[in-house]
């Protein structure tokens, strides 16, 4: 009887704490998306992003922004385009007009990519 009460108490506490854990991103359940992070291979920045992404998403693969042409890792759900340094000297990928993959562009290089593609998200 006592162990049943303890179990109930523990379940209640867990139920109460779950929203907090979820809000802080501390749930063990990863988001069911596969991410293709395309940046500067071997850089500390790539490692930083990949560690963070792997903690939250089911699958994370990496690529090189310098050679990205929009076709790599076609089964990934989305693409992140990033680079280290100041962004001004980062490579600019050539994407085909038909490119329509959901894509996050990051920082200065992201702004330049936006300019290149004629997007409103370009660098001002």
């Amino acid at each position: 009887m006592k162990s049943k009460a303890c179990w109930l108490l523990a379940a209640c506490a867990l139920w109460l704490l779950m929203p907090l854990a979820a809000a802080l991103g501390q749930t063990n359940q990863k988001i069911n998306l596969s991410i293709f992070y395309t940046g500067h291979p071997g850089s500390a920045r790539e490692a930083d992003f990949v560690q963070f992404l792997r903690a939250h998403f089911n699958q994370v693969a990496t690529g090189d922004l310098a050679t990205f042409d929009g076709a790599q890792s076609p089964t990934s759900d989305e693409v992140i385009l990033d680079y280290d340094g100041d962004g001004f000297s980062a490579p600019r990928p050539n994407l085909p007009n038909s490119y329509s993959r959901p894509t996050i562009t990051v920082g200065v290089v992201g702004g330049f990519i936006g300019n290149q593609l004629g997007l409103k998200t370009g660098y001002m």
């Binding site: 979820a22 963070f52 490119y99 959901p102 990051v106 409103k120």
Partner: protein, 287 residues
């Protein structure tokens, strides 16, 4: 851009799901440059901001042009960035079609808790826009921003700037009095258009037809209504200019307008033209 987003987060889902973004708000001084723009004149002395990252620098991140961002239904500003060297309302994090620009430059380890939650939510959010290519591409600047640029002509040494912006005639006519010219453009703001080569003019032809705005759908109704009348040549010119189409008969124009009316939008940034949203483009994606 600095390390901070400006303003309190909206009710947009990127601040709510899957993670609740809980910023720590601060008050930062309103940048002096903001006062030089129409939407910055009445701002309070201090602005509410929240740190997205802690880079320790006042630069290194990037904003996008805020003016005109919302003139096409494929684009949205998710948060304004605090950028003391840019106009107020510049986009810190924004989306155009299938692209989401995260203007902050720091890697995740330097993001705040709120910044990390926001970044993760953005990654989840953009997935909804798979296959949604841009409806327009950047061709020109929004007309409000043009009036701001005109008011700065006298302070720019290189006369090519002013001559390109308003054409040689107006530039010479208003030399030393650029604020008067900016005021003229502001009074006629509904009739500003671009020649596609960086020059912005007031559409006198539309004005002569008694039409007060080039960006309202009623303007298309008026122009189509003028076909078959004495003003047909000017009306046809305007219809072609503002749609990019080369239809010829009144019947063709009426049919086109009837078929697309509910999906029409006008974009300054896209080239001062009407565009048609493809069927289904704005439908909510499957979850």
């Amino acid at each position: 851009m600095s390390d901070a987003a400006q303003g309190e987060p909206s009710q947009h889902e990127v601040f709510r799901t899957p993670f609740k973004v809980q910023p720590a708000f601060e008050k930062w001084p309103t940048p002096e440059l903001y006062r030089r723009f129409p939407n910055g004149k009445d701002l309070p002395d201090q602005l509410t901001v929240w740190r997205v990252q802690n880079s320790g620098k006042d630069f290194g991140s990037v904003v996008s042009m805020g003016y005109g961002f919302d003139d096409s239904p494929d684009a949205e500003i998710l948060t304004v960035g605090y950028a003391s060297g840019k106009p107020p309302g510049s986009a810190g994090v924004s989306r155009h079609a299938n692209f989401l620009q995260w203007g902050f430059s720091s890697p995740p380890s330097q993001m705040t808790d709120a910044g990390q939650a926001f970044f993760l939510n953005c990654i989840v959010y953009i997935h909804k826009f798979a296959g949604k290519q841009p409806l327009i591409h950047r061709q020109s600047n929004d007309r409000v921003f043009i009036t701001c640029l005109i008011s700065m002509i006298d302070s720019v040494q290189d006369s090519v700037f002013g001559q390109t912006l308003v054409g040689a005639d107006l530039f010479n006519q208003y030399k030393g009095h650029c604020q008067d010219l900016a005021d003229l453009y502001t009074r006629q703001i509904e009739l500003i258009h671009s020649n596609g080569k960086g020059t912005y003019l007031i559409d006198k032809q539309l004005q002569d037809l008694g039409i007060a705005s080039n960006r309202k759908i009623q303007t298309l109704d008026r122009l189509v209504g003028l076909l078959g009348q004495s003003q047909q040549p000017a009306a046809l010119d305007a219809l072609r200019l503002y749609t990019g189409l080369s239809l010829t008969t009144p019947r063709q124009w009426r049919d086109w307008l009837a078929a697309n009316r509910s999906r029409l939008f006008f974009s300054d940034v896209g080239g001062y033209k009407f565009f048609v949203v493809p069927e289904g483009y704005l439908d909510q994606p499957k979850q």
